[in-house]
Structure formats: structure tokens, C-alpha cells
Amino acid sequence: MSEKPKPQRYASWTAGKLPLPELREMKRRGEKIVMVTAYDAPSGRLADQAGVDLVLVGDSSGMVVHGRESTVAVSLDEIVFMTQWVSRGARRPLLVADMPFGSYEVSDEQAVQNAVRLVKEGGADAVKLERGGTSASRAHAIVAAGVPVMGHVGLTPQTATVLGGFKAQGRSAERARALVDEALALEAAGCFAVVLEAVPA
């Protein structure tokens, strides 16, 4: 085992919690941001002990924990429960809760209500939603309500059917340009970060 540097402790609203604006500072300083998923208290605690910066309570749980074929059927309740569990284990990392399929597509109001639920009941610090398009409007509404939002473009598992399965995205010049535009729209909507999944390096 290599000696790992002790993560810096911060004075913030929750003792020892990594402040969200610190992520931008890390980018500015060229320090890489480490993120991993977790689904229960022990995995959250281990991620914290390893010095991980961001913990994602992902709807990937639908596949890797609950044995489904996709993430589509994952419910908001499931994410709320798992976020509660992870929050008991992970203290320093920022907790990002996935908004599952169907929990933000209908309207900005629906998206805000469900994002607020993940924060109030689940203990999430931020939420993540997939795709560009209407998701940029949802992100804007959620950020305006005071909840930080992470975007997610490229291979978006919730809409894998439309994409033709779990495969790399943005491999033509046209599609690559469209993905960049989606990411920029999410940034303009106020997202604090964006996940890029399965796109050409």
C-alpha cells in the first residue's frame, strides 16, 4: 500500500465536508477530482477513508446492486434510501445523488420537487441528471432552487435505447459538436460539473 496524502479538512457547514466551490479551485490548480459510486454506509465510509472527493449515489445500483438489465426502472425512493445510507458513511466527500429516469423529464417543477427531496430526505449535497436538451432547462430550475447540479452527456444509460445500446457516443464530427454544445448549455444553466461518458478522448 502506498502512503496516501491526508485529505485537507475544511471549515464548512458540515464539519469536514469538502466545499463545492473547491472543485473549481482544484480544476484551476490542475488537481484531478476523484469520484466513485457508493450504495450503502460501508462503501461510503471506505470511499471517505480513501480520500475520494465526490461520491455518486448512482442509479447504476439498478444494474450492479439489484441485478436489473438497465437503470431505467430505478425509482426515486431507491435513490433517497441509498443516499441516506451513504451519507451515514461518507462525511468529507460531496454526495451527488442521481435523479432516476422519469424523475425530472416532465417539467421544471417536477425536477425541482424531486431534487429537493433528494437533498431534504436523502441528505444529498447535489444531484445529477442526464442528457442535454430539456435537461439544461431542468438543471437551471434546480440550481435556481438552491440545489447544485451535475450534468451528464455522451453515453447516457437512461436513454440507451435511443442511442442504440451501451456504446461510445460522439464519434462523428457532427455528433461530437452536438455533445460539446450540450455540455456548454449545461454549463450556462449553472451546472457545477459535467460527466462525460464513453466519448472519444
Partner: protein, 90 residues
């Protein structure tokens, strides 16, 4: 805005991986972008196999996994004849 990559290369500001994928705690095929940092699936299978074997052979539990009671209490218990009663019932 920081970018967090998963299968998007080292030019991103950060990386994310799925717990079960990176720890080898799943069955079947993992996407190209996963690096396995551990093989928990194999570790767990091996451990469960040994556990089952030791339960069946009687090797588990050992003395260190059991509880004792004070000598005089044990004697009083045996003198009361309860142990014999229980033996008879079983």
C-alpha cells in the same frame, strides 16, 4: 466547469468509476473504460467456499468463537439435572 470522465480520457478534470466495476465485484462483462483495481468477486467466492467447507466438516466454529460460563454456575446447572433433562429430550 470541471469535467468528470468515464471512458472520456485523461484530459478530463476528474474521473468516476462504478464501485462494483472497479473492484471486480460483479459477474460478466465490464465496459472498456473500466479498470479493475481489485477482484472482490473472486475473494468473496473463495471465502464463502471455505466457510461452507468448514461448517460441513465441523472445523468452524472453534473454541475462540464460543462463550463460556463460570465453573460454579456450570456445576450448579449440571447438579440441577437440567442438562440431563435436555439431553433426554434431544
Amino acid at each position: 466547469m470541471p469535467t468528470i470522465g468515464i471512458g472520456a480520457g485523461g484530459g478530463c478534470d476528474g474521473q468516476v468509476l462504478v464501485w462494483h466495476d472497479m473492484l471486480g465485484y460483479y459477474e460478466g462483462h465490464a465496459p472498456r473504460f473500466v479498470k479493475r483495481y481489485a477482484d472482490l468477486g473472486a475473494t468473496i467466492t473463495e471465502a464463502l467456499g471455505r466457510y461452507a467447507e468448514e461448517v460441513r466438516s465441523g472445523a468452524f466454529p472453534e473454541q475462540q468463537h464460543t462463550y463460556a460460563m463460570p465453573e460454579e454456575e456450570l456445576r450448579a446447572f449440571e447438579e440441577a439435572g437440567l442438562a440431563a433433562d435436555l439431553d433426554e429430550r434431544s
